[in-house]
């Protein structure tokens, strides 16, 4: 029947997860309703109601799916990785404020480069894993808010890495606490050069 074919085509507007579970039953129920109709007028009324209802239920299901993806709860492992990554950045902060730590070169390297790099890799790999998991499980649309703690950690650790790696060119403007210029004259010239974009 033509209306059944059209109804089946319109069922494709539902989110894929919902469609996989219920589309065949929705179609069968629609067929049962039409088969039970006594006359053409009843059939027409059934078709009209079923098709009129579709936009609303489709929108509802689509918004439920989108809403679910926005409130997607990361796994415990992902949250633990995010917390672990954040903890790895603590030595960097300590290094800046505790001057006695700055004398040790090995500690400098680990605090300023190694740990932030590990934190960055951990955050990015966790985010990608969660993203792939969310796609595989159900959610067809992933919003920007998804996995935001991991993204924040990745951005912060990336910023710290860039800050440290390029500190020879940014330290004047950013007031790099890692590299201290003892000579005020040098400091002033450095800042002026940095602001004017000179070498």
């Amino acid at each position: 029947m033509r209306s059944v074919r059209l109804y089946n085509k319109l069922l494709k507007l539902y989110p894929s997860a919902y469609r996989q579970k219920y589309a065949d039953q929705m179609s069968q129920t629609y067929i049962d309703m039409l088969d039970d109709a006594q006359n053409s007028a009843q059939k027409a009324a059934i078709m009209l109601r079923a098709f009129a209802e579709l936009p609303f239920t489709v929108m509802r299901q689509q918004s439920v799916t989108i809403g679910a993806s926005m409130t997607y709860k990361p796994t415990d492992t992902a949250m633990q990785n995010t917390i672990a990554g954040t903890v790895l950045l603590i030595p960097f902060v300590l290094y800046i404020f505790v001057h006695s730590l700055q004398a040790n070169k090995a500690l400098s390297l680990v605090s300023l480069l190694v740990l932030p790099a590990v934190a960055f890799l951990l955050a990015i790999s966790t985010y990608i894993t969660e993203f792939l998991r969310a796609r595989r499980v159900q959610y067809t649309r992933i919003s920007v808010q998804f996995g935001w703690p991991m993204l924040v950690l990745a951005c912060v650790s990336a910023f710290l890495l860039v800050f440290v790696v390029f500190h020879d060119s940014t330290h004047c403007i950013m007031g790099n606490p890692v590299r201290i210029l003892h000579n005020p004259h040098d400091s002033l010239q450095c800042i002026q050069r940095g602001m004017l974009g000179g070498s």
Partner: protein, 112 residues
């Protein structure tokens, strides 16, 4: 009037009531709901299966397969669903009793 958040939506309640007698498939639920409501509630497949999805997630109903009817999926009330339905009916019973006490049901308006 919007119900309190812990009360079942109208459609969900009607579906549970329809399943209280025996397990049914989609179209049978629609027919029973219409009969139970004296024709006031006419469900369509979209609304029905949206409600079924929620009831399955809440474990108020479960799916059962019939070997002699493979094209259709049947749904059955669970113990939890039965309890939930009983709670809703108790609420309505209390509400109706209040209505009778206040003579709202007989007269159609409130008498102080």
């Amino acid at each position: 009037m919007r119900r309190a958040t812990n009360q079942l939506p109208q459609v969900a309640f009607s579906v549970l009531l329809a399943l209280s007698l025996r397990e049914r498939h989609g179209y049978e639920i629609i027919k029973q709901v219409k009969e139970d409501s004296n024709g006031k509630i006419s469900l369509n497949p979209g609304a029905l299966y949206t409600s079924i999805q929620q009831l399955l997630e809440q474990e108020f109903i479960k799916e059962v397969r019939h070997q002699d009817d493979v094209r259709r999926r049947y749904y059955q009330l669970t113990k939890l669903g039965n309890t939930r339905l009983a709670e809703e009916l108790t609420y309505f019973e209390t509400t109706v009793r209040l209505g009778r006490q206040r003579q709202v049901l007989e007269t159609g308006f409130y008498c102080a």
